[in-house]
Symmetry: C2
Subunit: 598 residues, 2 copies
Amino acid sequence: MPSYNAPIRDMQFLLDDVLQVDRFDNLPGFSDAPKDVRDAIMTEAAKFAEEVLQPLNRVGDLHGCTRAEDGSVTTPPGFKEAYEQFVEAQWGALSGDPEYGGQGLPAIVNLCAIEMLAAANQAWAMYPGLTHGAYAAIHAGGSEEQKRTYLPKLATCEWGGTMNLTEPQCGTDLGLIRTKAVPQGDGAYKISGQKIWISSGEHDMAENIVHLVLARIEGGPEGVKGISLFIVPKFLVNEDGSLGARNAVTCGGLEEKMGIHGNSTCVMNYDGATGFLVGEEHKGLRTMFVMMNEARLGVGLQGLAISEVAYQNAVAFAKDRLQSRALREDQQHKDKPADPIIVHPDVRRMLMDTKAFNEGARAFAYWTGLHGDLLQRSPDEKVREKAGDYMALMTPVVKAFLTEFGSRGCNDALQVFGGSGYVEEWGMSQFVRDIRIALIYEGTNGVQALDLVGRKLAMNGARPLMSFFAEIDEFIAENSSSDDLKPFIDGLADARKRLDAGTQWLMNNGLANPNEAGAASTDYLRLFGYTAFALMWAMMAKAAYAKLAEGVDDETFYRNKIATGRYFIDRMLPETAVHLTKIEAGAESMMALEAEAF
Amino acid sequence: MPSYNAPIRDMQFLLDDVLQVDRFDNLPGFSDAPKDVRDAIMTEAAKFAEEVLQPLNRVGDLHGCTRAEDGSVTTPPGFKEAYEQFVEAQWGALSGDPEYGGQGLPAIVNLCAIEMLAAANQAWAMYPGLTHGAYAAIHAGGSEEQKRTYLPKLATCEWGGTMNLTEPQCGTDLGLIRTKAVPQGDGAYKISGQKIWISSGEHDMAENIVHLVLARIEGGPEGVKGISLFIVPKFLVNEDGSLGARNAVTCGGLEEKMGIHGNSTCVMNYDGATGFLVGEEHKGLRTMFVMMNEARLGVGLQGLAISEVAYQNAVAFAKDRLQSRALREDQQHKDKPADPIIVHPDVRRMLMDTKAFNEGARAFAYWTGLHGDLLQRSPDEKVREKAGDYMALMTPVVKAFLTEFGSRGCNDALQVFGGSGYVEEWGMSQFVRDIRIALIYEGTNGVQALDLVGRKLAMNGARPLMSFFAEIDEFIAENSSSDDLKPFIDGLADARKRLDAGTQWLMNNGLANPNEAGAASTDYLRLFGYTAFALMWAMMAKAAYAKLAEGVDDETFYRNKIATGRYFIDRMLPETAVHLTKIEAGAESMMALEAEAF
């Protein structure tokens, strides 16, 4: 059975030393989260994740969810009790708006907790995860009355939340939505249609479920310009806040999936269900994208989280399993029948790849998350502008890069186990199966890449990308005289140059023939991800050297951090070269064949 | 439900035009397999694979195998009936030795059939696959009596075969084997111990199962020098060939695995079972490696086979699924609500990656297989020497490179399906889960890489590698004046230069510090694989241009082949650069951390 130890020390390093969140204690919420408070939150969240959620992870995989004939869904044994504890402890409300049931702490503090929940039990963590997204969407687009009605209960997760986009004929292309909304004259609508793949769509853990549903108001424009967003609660809410009539929305079936068995993936049937318009008619996508962007960052974090827990278990196995001798005689443990496999370079390769990825990914996700806080809380317009730009630019990269390499990390961790990795009992298969969905949901990774090259690069006159380059250039200029940081600065400068070249190539070719942009998109996103990681590792190395210069007790921690960063620079960052080569190879050979030739 | 269409046309192209197997019709067996015979075999094998085995693939996944209390194992519904048909049609005997029940056809003809069986039903195909390996091992190392007793029944698969190496404490490191063999004075031994993860270890399809078991004869030397190989039949065989007493070998349990549920992966308990020594005492590994090398090629072929069937289904989905508009207006299907997703460059990228991999992989596997035939059948010592060198050198590359990229192909195929890929019903998850074992069994891919850099490069004074370089150089020299082939020749020459540089680096650094060789091993194997594929694509392009020059009816086939090869050169072969960079990065940062730091 796998275990999980929340990487609190690494999280502290990021918040305290690298991102130095104490700098922002003039902002709302930050002053309520000084180091001792943050540490206490992390410790408690870790306890809940490690001791309550993690032991339920395999239970969820084995039992899955079951649907009764009346459409009610039972979650795996123990899920409901864990959820009650979660609601009781108000974990869901950490970073919510204090006006509407939240505790107002910075989102970056919440991120640490969310990573832990996902690592311990991805399927379970999706229930509060989607609720958090529903909170954000109603907070962004709902009326004051809607906020008062729904947000406090969503904040604590007493009520669950879901997002309903997909229909059988409509996945990526939301213009194809057929679900209908008919106005009832009293401000309410009747919603009819079928939604599929609705995560947490129906379950037995929350007393109510607030569905956010995209639908087309009768007579509205075709395509994406006629899509509106509705709140469709499972139980209608009376004026006094108590629960009223059961709404006409039911779970019509559960999907048999490769993984995340503990999460109920539902077919949801809307049979004239009562819904309430969020924001303006026909402009529902804008608000749904608030939820989607929240969810995309959350999915990226899942990539990191599962890679982390898979890695931890691979390390434990690699230290324990004795097999073959170290290649160098001076590294052999002659007193044992064989050496622990962690002595073998190729095992190290897999562990180091994953370790260096995980730590870079955590820095990138938290750094992005901090900009989310600045966007919400900074009084400085310039800071908010840059933060908004960054959130837009980084979101597809966090989602796709972290899930793609997180999935690879899980696969490498399984590989370290050899044959045992393939046996379900050891739990590594579940990590690989669970995380596989993260490359798909909330927009496939290919869609993220198109979002990056097709929308995010050009937005606001390319200002987001220019800000990113400027930040890199500034970092390089500030630290170019440091001998310690030289390899990191050199690596970062190389990557930046390649990203610039890739961008230029896109500008020169993508406008004339959009297939060129499409053909380059995934390689461009990867090139971007590596470059962002290079900045993260340079920042981490700088912080680590600064701590060492200060004189600290746990020198080893900082030295190991730097050594891990060097591995990233030496052995992972060179991938940027091949991605640039592929971008510059163009679309011709990719698009050469007729469809019939496949 | 997925479907499968055996890629006969591609197989014909390889056998007829690229490898031109008719050149060898002076060799035993080849004269019995002219084009019309080969084509007829392929057509019949395709029918069996497509119509009988493929429909059982999901059945096997859903039902798995079941073990009764007495240790007997029942295979999934339909498996036994398919197996009977297989035995009846003598499919197993195609390339066996005519002296011992075989039909004597070239192994390369058999390869086509094996690819089809694996693609249609990997779990099922493992039963005859391991039997084939057992045949090869007894053929190579058994006494005349043993051959007469076992081979004819193994040839037809009336009896099954297994290989028993792994024990709980002993996987890669066979020196740790504890299973004991005690001589009985009558030439027989009593075998006692537990073997785990024995594929096809016990089942209800064959009337007898011939276990090939590694064990330690009491009093023999420690480590790998004291390991002997035994035949341990499930039922002892009487002198007249009839079945005698049930032997003391039983299945003690079945593993719950990530995939290949239709194959029985058994714990095998040997409780003083009667066994018969194969070859000399303490020299069992040598013969077992005959079986292992057979099996390694077979596993590589699985990588290709599952990638092929997954690709075919992804193509069908990509042509059928309408979602979003083509980026270029002139490629939009205005009469439909959206365009088939095969118009999208990033979907093309995944399909082309997999197509170019599959076709290169097939060429590489068959080209290697042809050398297996030459090794067995050529009267020319020089030819046999080179063929033996190639088999040794290429086996780890075929095994690891084809399974790693085959697994990637399956994952890309799943990704093309989007959310449907994650739903078990569509079958893509099964391909990903089934093929995952291929990176592990018969020696993990990391072990293959070590075998390549640690043993195969240096063997016979580096003669195998020198032959390979010489063959590449000859091809380049012969074709350097062809304008058509220029991109292929340039790509091949680049890759060759990098492989040479990687080899030099290994020679200069790996001897002084073997960790340098270990740290470079996986990247070296990938660099080698890409280079071999570059040669294959150059050969295929040459053959295709030659056919076009001849004037053929199906020009499109050959033009598409060339276009696919161009994609390989443009967009896949550049990976060689980064693998060389990683090799040259050395072991330092990979080995920098203490074990405690992970």
